[in-house]
């Protein structure tokens, strides 16, 4: 890991002497683009005053404040990021991508009409735009821990708000749920001794995949823990595909042939991608909870 850590740090050029943010009197103009760093000091009034109270109850002597309307230079620290790198990357994007494809971007600025909705893990190694080459405008993407889709009955979540928008407003044609190898969230799920444990956010969330854990333990009890995690990574995708059908406005579109549901699995150890499609009519004809029927399975290597 040492080599990787070094190369990434250099890439971002974090140096002790570079200020975190340098004050600028007026916006600079680069490539006709006004790039400015603006200080915005947000005061949250009520919510922050309650935060202040909470902070002083919990930790005597320590109070945080967010100050409004003060141009205060943020203390530089060797841990501070060099956001000049971020600026440079955006400028490179603007020059080599945005301006080179200005007609596409002009058209996209008026409207988006992606055919795909993708649910993928937040893991830094599995961005769908990178591994499946989605260009701007092609895919509406949700990323959460362990690419989980909760059921309709479980109530509001960030994932189902996005599903509702994608299916009912954008009218996407394909939903793709992508799992991946070495998923920390699935590992946390499989490692939970007590599925009622709500002591951490992670546990509170990955429990959405509880049924996948149960079916994995039933089907793969003779495998090692690592192998069980691999099994659960795919099992949880299948569980999510079934959970998608729990949304009435999703099931209706699938039934009409307007929407297809697919599972995917990206293995970044050997760089393979497996994909399969939910066979809706065969799945529902089984009339059996948890029995998913798939079609069009393929493995790309």
């Amino acid at each position: 890991m040492a080599n990787l850590a070094t190369s990434i740090r250099t890439h971002f050029a974090v140096t002790p002497d570079s200020p975190v943010v340098s004050p600028r009197g007026s916006p600079s103009s680069v490539l006709g683009l006004k790039v400015k760093e603006r200080r915005s000091h947000h005061s949250l009034a009520d919510s922050m005053s309650s935060l202040r109270v909470k902070a002083s109850n919990e930790t005597p002597g320590l109070v945080q404040e967010v100050r409004r309307n003060q141009s205060k230079r943020v203390e530089k620290t060797k841990f501070g990021p060099d956001f000049t790198e971020i600026e440079q990357r955006f400028l490179a994007f603007k020059k080599h991508e945005y301006m080179e494809n200005i007609e596409l971007y002009n058209s996209l600025s008026k409207n988006q009409a992606p055919k795909f909705m993708v649910i993928a893990c937040a893991d830094s190694r599995v961005c769908p735009s990178v591994i499946l080459g989605f260009k701007p405008g092609e895919a509406f993407i949700v990323r959460n821990v362990a690419n989980l889709v909760p059921r309709y009955e479980d109530g509001p979540s960030e994932t189902n708000a996005a599903l509702e928008f994608a299916v009912n407003s954008l009218e996407v044609e394909d939903i793709l749920v992508i799992g991946h190898s070495c998923c920390g969230g699935i590992r946390a799920l499989m490692g939970m001794q007590d599925t009622e444990d709500t002591s951490s956010f992670i546990k509170n969330w990955v429990i959405v995949g509880k049924k996948a854990k149960i079916s994995t333990e039933a089907a793969a009890s003779d495998l090692t823990f690592d192998q069980q995690c691999r099994h659960c990574e795919k099992e949880s995708v299948n569980r999510s595909l079934l959970n998608l059908l729990s949304y009435p406005w999703i099931e209706e579109q699938v039934m009409r042939g307007k929407l297809s549901i697919h599972g995917g699995y990206y293995n970044f150890v050997d760089c393979t991608f497996e994909k399969w499609t939910l066979d809706y009519f065969k799945t529902i004809s089984k009339a059996n909870d948890g029995v998913l029927v798939v079609k069009s399975r393929s493995l790309w290597s």
């Binding site: 890991m1 080599n3 975190v20 683009l33 200080r39 915005s40 947000h42 919510s47 902070a55 005597p60 945080q64 967010v66 100050r67 205060k72 943020v74 841990f79 971020i86 600026e87 990357r89 603007k94 991508e97 945005y98 600025s109 988006q112 830094s124 190694r125 961005c127 990178v130 591994i131 499946l132 080459g133 989605f134 509406f140 993407i141 949700v142 990323r143 959460n144 989980l148 509001p156 960030e158 994932t159 708000a161 996005a162 509702e164 928008f165 190898s181 070495c182 956010f201 992670i202 509170n204 969330w205 990955v206 009409r256 042939g257 307007k258 760089c271 994909k275 499609t277 069009s296 790309w300």
Partner: protein, 262 residues
């Protein structure tokens, strides 16, 4: 299609329908089976009609990635297969036009990315929206990221949805409005400070104010607050305007003040 051909096809279709109706009039017990099969045919025809092959599209994308990126950087991908240590956590909108890997060129391994409607961060609450809490907890406590960047964007449908919720609070969606209401303080602020602007301009302001609300909500997570205060974690807001082709970046100022003794 020639007129005679069309007539022949229509006759064939009508014969088929007539045949099915005759059968069902004699064997009405077959109706439910027939209904399912007709639904299936309808679905298949609807799906086949539009000519877009999703499998082929992602196959092409994956093959290109494997050949042009994975196989050309074996050292990087070999290390990534063992573990990840991203320096960034990024909140970005699910909008198809604003992927951080495109606009900020994040490479595999660099950024732990959460994408949701309008790039929102709800306040600390284990009973609601634990998905976001789980991501923050994982990024901060396990991956030990050094920066959290919340990026809003122009023409955000989620923000527009928030600004469109009527004042009496009635909602028409199952989940969307409940979600975007996380940033209702931003809407309140914009309406009070920019009430004279057009709806579109108010939305544009709200896109940025909502980022600030999310940054403030990040500080309600004790493990974030602690690290922000001792400067091991930097919080920044951003706004990508794809109409103008611009990107703004700003800080949330965070200071320790001595507690008042009461």
């Amino acid at each position: 299609m020639q007129e005679e051909d069309m007539a022949a096809v229509t006759d064939k279709y009508e014969d088929a329908i007539a045949g099915l109706s005759r059968l069902l009039s004699v064997k009405s017990e077959l109706q439910s089976v027939a209904a399912v099969k007709v639904q299936q045919i309808t679905a298949e025809l609807a799906a086949a009609g539009n000519g877009f092959d999703p499998a082929a599209r992602i196959r092409t994308g994956f093959d290109h990635f494997k050949k042009e990126k994975y196989q050309k950087n074996p050292a990087l991908y070999g290390e990534l297969a063992k573990g990840q240590s991203p320096k960034f956590m990024v909140f970005a909108c699910s909008d198809s036009r604003v992927c951080p890997s495109h606009i900020l060129d994040f490479q595999p391994g660099e950024a732990f990315v959460v994408r949701n409607i309008a790039n929102m961060v709800p306040p600390f609450d284990k009973t609601k929206y634990s998905g976001v809490g789980a991501a923050i907890e994982y990024a901060v406590l396990h991956l030990k990221v050094e920066n959290i960047l919340v990026i809003g964007h122009s023409c955000c449908g989620g923000i527009k949805g928030l600004m469109s919720i009527p004042d009496d609070g009635t909602t028409s969606s199952d989940f969307i409005e409940h979600w975007v209401n996380i940033c209702s303080p931003a809407k309140t602020k914009v309406k009070s400070e920019h009430g004279k602007l057009s709806f579109a301009e108010q939305c544009a302001n709200c896109e940025k104010e909502a980022v600030n609300v999310s940054l403030g909500n990040l500080l309600t997570y004790p493990f974030v607050r602690e690290r922000a205060v001792n400067k091991t974690l930097a919080l920044k807001g951003g706004h990508y305007d794809f109409v103008k082709g611009s990107f703004e970046l700003w800080d949330l100022d965070c200071k320790i003040a001595p507690a008042l003794s009461v």
